[in-house]
Each structure stands twice: as structure tokens, then as C-alpha cells.
């Protein structure tokens, strides 16, 4: 029996590479959702997630893994997406929004699906900077200080964006609910 204990007593120590990959795997759902919330087109999400992984892997050795990783990942996702959007025109962004609005079709059976689709459509109406704060605070439930740190803005700036973003989001939801954007 001793040999059995010996065989199980020395698990291989995780290398930084395997730890990084495990972290990416653990947060892949979150990353895809975050990219979608931030307005990435469905066909771009996989590539953008890979870009996030490259950043994560490069910074892994200097990353404080004792802290929650999601705010960090959100900050990376936000910057990558923002840079990506800057390469494209704003009009393309709006075109994507209209395309996504198709999720609000009447044949959507589940109400929760409809509400999520409505929320996503409304979020796309917000400017990226305010959308990021609203998503982080109201969906990811990240404290405002961590949001400010992740997005490299002041706390008051984060509060201001949240306040204005929420107003815009509520207005967008009302407009979409009334069917102004559709039919």
C-alpha cells in the first residue's frame, strides 16, 4: 500500500503556463459574455478572446493572482475591444447593434431570453466608456474602486459614468420596449 501512497503523494506542481491556461479556461464563459456585453460582434468574440489570452499570458508572471481576476480581465477586454472599435467606424458598431436586435423576435420563447436580449440591445446604445462601467458595476457587481482601477479612471469619474450610463440604459430599454427601434 505504501507504493500507492507514494504514487499519489507527489502531484506535479502547476507550471505558470498551465496555471495561466487553467485561469483562462475557468473564465472563458465570463470572457465571452463580457465581450458580448461590451458590444463585440458574435463573429469577433473568439478572436478577441484570444487577444485577451495573449495579454494574460504575457502578464501572468507579474499578475497578482491573489486578487480576483475578473476585474483585470474586464479591463483587458475593454481595452482590446476599444482599440478594436477604434479601428472600425462607429457606423459599423451601430450596424451590429441592429443586427443583434433580431434576438428580440416574437418567436423567442423564453421570457428571460427576451429580457437578456433587450438588455444587450439597450447596452449597445451606450457609449463604450459608460457601457463598461455599467456592465462592471451592475452585472459583474464589481466595487466602484476596483472598476476605477481596472479602467484607469478616477472614482468620481466611475460614479459619473455609472450615473449617466444608467440613465441612458433605462431610456434605451424604454425605447426598445415600446418597439421604437423595431417595427
Amino acid at each position: 500500500m505504501g507504493y500507492l501512497r507514494l504514487a499519489h503523494s507527489a502531484p506535479p506542481a502547476p507550471t505558470p503556463e498551465s496555471a495561466c491556461l487553467a485561469a483562462f479556461e475557468g473564465e472563458i464563459d465570463y470572457l465571452f459574455t463580457t465581450l458580448k456585453r461590451l458590444g463585440a460582434a458574435p463573429h469577433e468574440i473568439e478572436d478577441l478572446a484570444q487577444e485577451i489570452f495573449v495579454v494574460l499570458y504575457r502578464q501572468w508572471r507579474t499578475l497578482d493572482t491573489d486578487r480576483p481576476i475578473r476585474p483585470y480581465l474586464f479591463g483587458v477586454a475593454f481595452r482590446i475591444l476599444y482599440a478594436h472599435h477604434r479601428r472600425r467606424t462607429r457606423e459599423v458598431l451601430c450596424a451590429d447593434v441592429d443586427a443583434d436586435d433580431g434576438a428580440l423576435s416574437p418567436e423567442g420563447s423564453l421570457q428571460s431570453k427576451q429580457t437578456v436580449a433587450l438588455l444587450m440591445a439597450a447596452l449597445q446604445r451606450l457609449p463604450v466608456s459608460r457601457r463598461a462601467v455599467v456592465v462592471m458595476h451592475d452585472l459583474d457587481e464589481v466595487p466602484i474602486t476596483d472598476i476605477a482601477r481596472s479602467l484607469a479612471i478616477t472614482r468620481f469619474g466611475a460614479y459619473a459614468r455609472l450615473r449617466k450610463g444608467r440613465r441612458e440604459l433605462a431610456a434605451a430599454v424604454r425605447r426598445l420596449s415600446k418597439g421604437e427601434a423595431r417595427i
Binding site: T115, V116, L119, I144, A170, V173
Partner: protein, 222 residues
């Protein structure tokens, strides 16, 4: 702290509640993303050392090539003024060239007698040698190749090949080895030894796949 945060709209609260759910990515997409991440990781594990060394090497090569070109230019100008380039020392007669294969860059003297050299006397400079020795060896390399360039400018290809062979013997892995081998290809081509030039160009491409001289060399033997 909380007082700074505005109350969310109650209608909005319902939406946000549903929106907090993080759906699971499909297994296919997950597997594909992880596979790509592994591939990225494998590629990046190789890349970090390579670009640094290649960039440094390339910049060094360019600097050396520029300095060599300047030296050669000055020598050619002097030669043009004096009519003929004097060759103060001629250690390797052209006859030696034919006894050696041109592309043996790492060739050592063929038969070394069984006399063990004394340890204090080193036959060639080592990488860990004194810095002054390294500078001297570089100066000697540059001098030798500059003369070879002058000979090439005068279209004396046998002389070029002799000097290139001498450089190859003295500094098989010297800092100007790339320039030497390029010059060898061009000299072989110039002397009409096309087959050997092709072989030398192929060996050059194997040894220096990222050389800035490679495109030109691969065109020249045609």
C-alpha cells in the same frame, strides 16, 4: 460610499438580474479556444528569446555591413587613386584555394600532428576571451574582408576566394561570417563556377535564413 451610486430603475433592476447570468460557452467553441490558446502559448514560448537575439543580430549585421561598406569604399577610392591596391601580406596563395572546398566554413586544418599544443597558447580566439582580444579579432576580420572586397571590386575572384578561405580558417564563426559567405557566393558566381555558387548560396540560405543579403544572393546565381 454607497450614497454616490444612484438607485437603479426598478424596471431596469429586473433586466439586470437576468443579465447577470453568465451562459456557458458551447463545448466546441471552448475546445477550439483552448486549443488556440495552447498553440499561442507554444509559439510564444519560442518567440521571446528569438526576436531579441535576431533583432540584435540583425542590427549588428547592418552596422557591420555598413562599416564594411564604408571601409571598402575608402579602400576602393584609394586604389583608384593609386592605380592598384597594394597587398602587404599574402598569406594564402591562390593554389591553396583549389585544394579546399569553398563552402567548408567550419573546416579545421586537415591533419594536425599528435603534438599537444601547450595550454597557454590558444590557436584561435575564444568567445570568452578578453574583450581586447575580441576587438582585435574583429579588426582582423574586418581588415581581411575589406581586402577581399577590394579584390572583388577589381574582379580578381581567385584572390577573393583565397581571402575568404583564409577568413574561414581563421574565423569560422566570426562576426563577419555572414558577410564572408555572401562574398564567397558572389565570387564563385563571378568566376563562372555556377554550380559551386548555387551550392554555396543554398548553404548560405540554410545557415543564415534571415539574412538581409539572402534575396540578392538567391537572385544572383541565376
Amino acid at each position: 460610499m454607497k450614497s454616490h451610486i444612484p438607485q437603479a430603475d426598478p424596471e431596469l433592476d429586473v433586466l439586470l438580474e437576468d443579465g447577470r447570468v453568465i451562459p456557458r460557452v458551447s463545448e466546441v467553441v471552448r475546445a477550439r479556444s483552448l486549443s488556440r490558446a495552447r498553440a499561442t502559448m507554444a509559439a510564444m514560448a519560442v518567440i521571446p528569446r528569438e526576436p531579441l537575439s535576431s533583432v540584435r543580430r540583425r542590427s549588428l549585421t547592418i552596422a557591420l555591413a555598413a562599416s564594411l561598406a564604408m571601409g571598402v569604399g575608402a579602400a576602393v577610392a584609394t586604389a583608384a587613386l593609386r592605380g592598384r591596391v597594394p597587398s602587404p601580406s599574402q598569406p594564402a596563395p591562390p593554389a591553396v584555394l583549389h585544394t579546399q572546398r569553398p563552402m567548408h566554413t567550419l573546416d579545421v586544418p586537415p591533419s594536425r600532428p599528435s603534438i599537444v599544443p601547450p595550454p597557454a597558447v590558444t590557436a584561435r580566439p575564444q568567445r570568452w576571451a578578453h574583450p581586447a582580444t575580441a576587438q582585435e579579432s574583429y579588426a582582423a576580420e574586418l581588415d581581411l574582408l575589406a581586402r577581399a572586397q577590394v579584390a572583388y571590386a577589381a574582379r580578381e575572384f581567385a584572390d577573393v576566394l583565397a581571402r575568404v578561405a583564409e577568413h574561414g580558417r581563421k574565423f569560422p564563426n566570426g562576426r563577419l561570417a555572414e558577410e564572408r559567405e555572401a562574398l564567397r557566393v558572389r565570387a564563385l558566381e563571378g568566376s563562372g563556377r555556377t554550380e559551386e555558387a548555387h551550392r554555396a548560396a543554398a548553404t548560405f540560405a540554410d545557415r543564415f535564413p534571415r539574412s538581409i543579403m539572402l534575396p540578392r544572393l538567391s537572385r544572383e546565381p541565376r
